[in-house]
Subunit: 216 residues, 4 copies
């Protein structure tokens, strides 16, 4: 196959969860579709930046409605609780939490977790939005002086080594803000314990310990 | 095949997790082993009741040591905390919790969970040891008057519908004991939340709600 | 999300093997990539018809090299055997067979198998290239008069009900060509039997029967 | 746990496909069953040698019926074809082939395949019945002089490296019999090709080559 076909396969290889075989299948699939299909798809992809906007407040992606607010629907919703900020890894986490309809506060999309280099976290924070998180919390603190007396930042990262490591790093980043006088700021993490369907016989020690500690 | 061979297959079919194909493989496997192997195995199985004793206090199975205490090693261990009782479904749960080395109280093996009949729990409590649980808690309460002022019963059942339903039933059974004057008795359940490895993107609503509620 | 974002997700949903969750992940992934990435990818997709050519002889896709032959590399290769034609379902089959390096004849890509409607094959031949197959075989017969005295058409379709049904249909389509005087044309199918790794204990009756019949 | 309980677990560990966790579950399961159950099971296992007989002709296991033939039902069936002998690895293969109802000849259970030691077959033939196979074929040859002029031995072993290696070894063992004057003896193997459900896209090169070779 020639360069452009191979190039397309390489692009598909960068898609999340796609290996060589499926990347090739995608390219062959497109080759067999009609001209209008590939032209329209190409157009939609080229223009994705214009049809999707990244919220400057929580950094999630949302469909832009011309003339609308520059913030996403959640950030511009005045009925949501400004005193809680849920920090998630990615858009898909946020969407799943919204679907559960148990949270009415604010969000912040961090952009992932710090990758482990050789078992320990070196090698930088991989383009994650820690600086933006710092600014976001500062802004909420300022606004909360007018509204409320406290702010809670919930680090809702994955219950994995990477997630815990990233939580620790976020806590360090936010530490300077903890000492701001006159306001209460609290950093918490999601509770650990038995998730739905867990059987004791097959649980790891950490989950057993967590579920005992958080018994209620 | 004749009756005795088929009968043996039927016995193996009652083993936990064994289907028809594997039951047959077991029988054929034994047919191919030498005489001493099957004689010894048959003997060990016939005498299992003598080599394993069920603790009259927590109802778990343990190897009997002639002349020893009639209680199991955990129940007869004076260093374990009499003020906490962990109620588990089965021996394997108890063993996994002991392996995690995070619990130093007492145990009670309930014998399973109440099976759901047509989606709701009818049809009896399936031979579970609720009466024995009631007695055990009563005994601990009496002994704890001498030792401590409180008793906690942790219902450590599976995080499933059956498990929760069984927990509710156990709470009802133990209710009369809650009103005993002069002592504090508390019934708790294991904490629900993210178990190790959980990713937010794939969590169910109940787990998200639980992990938010038990954030810390 | 707005229309264009949702539209893009719908396009990804048509990709082979992609469900709603992954379609959304693809769209969110692209939203997060930089402008150059999405512009280049959109371009490559829009132009796929120009970078990939469908061979007018075997109907497989291949990278077009400007100024080259209008036939693909296999069809224009004079060293390949004109007396055998292997009919496959799709490009991926052809590529896998080429990789095995055991076949040196010609190919024809049928485009799939006839879908089963309500358990039996009604509802048309789903855009498959039966007419083109007929023409291709006719051309090979004419050329083979000059070269050889025989032509073999191997129906190399999947060993499934759909595949066998499609093979039967292809045989019927090619039947008129079988009576052409002066030449020998033979229609065969791939041999059925044990494929690599098969164990007798788990084989279906058809595979056992086939492997006994084709024993050698 | 004491010695007898641990010993029982060790016995279960030798069962085909059973690991430590399941072996323990079996032992705990038996500990919880009533006295009659374990007594009966122990009895059935101890006496398995008496309730199952190994056919002295084909070496498969079958239920013994007192006063019956010393050969199994297949070997003593006069309507089965004496001119074909199917050599299988184990009883389960034989049963699956009988279920398919496509074979009416004789059987011989070899007892397994030669294990590969360090990638190549060293280390002996692992207790397989090669000597008995030699004798069996010799007997069939003698009887076939009276009945028929030919004998076919089909090596129906798994389509794996171990299976093929074992087939080669069996051929070598039987070689001296091939030169017996006056009779035709043929050694074959099951046909290789596409087994039911196979798709060309995912087939290995050997299967593609075999299915091309055995096309029909």
């Amino acid at each position: 196959m020639n360069n452009n076909f191979e190039k397309l396969i390489e692009y598909f290889l960068k898609f999340p969860g796609i290996g060589p075989r499926q990347a090739k299948r995608f390219a062959l699939f497109l080759a067999g579709e009609d001209k209008k299909f590939v032209a329209d798809l190409g157009q939609l992809i080229s223009k994705i930046k214009e049809s999707v906007r990244q919220c400057p407040s929580c950094y999630r992606f949302y469909g832009s409605v011309s003339g609308g607010s520059s913030q996403c629907g959640i950030c511009s919703n005045l009925n949501r609780d400004n005193s809680i900020l849920l920090v998630v890894e990615k858009d898909a986490d946020l969407q799943n939490i919204e679907k559960s309809e148990v949270y009415n506060g604010r969000y912040f999309v961090l952009g992932g977790t710090i990758p482990l280099a050789n078992g320990s976290a070196k090698g930088g924070t991989g383009g994650l939005r820690f600086r933006e998180l710092f600014e976001k919390v500062k802004v909420l603190l300022q606004s909360s002086t007018r509204e409320a007396k406290h702010l809670e930042v919930i680090l809702a990262l994955s219950a994995t080594i990477e997630g815990e490591n990233t939580s620790r790093y976020a806590e360090k980043i936010l530490e300077p803000l903890l000492s701001k006088g006159g306001q209460e700021i609290k950093i918490t993490r999601l509770g650990r314990g038995l998730s739905t369907g867990t059987e004791l016989e097959y649980s790891d020690s950490a989950t057993i310990a967590n579920s005992l500690r958080s018994r209620c």
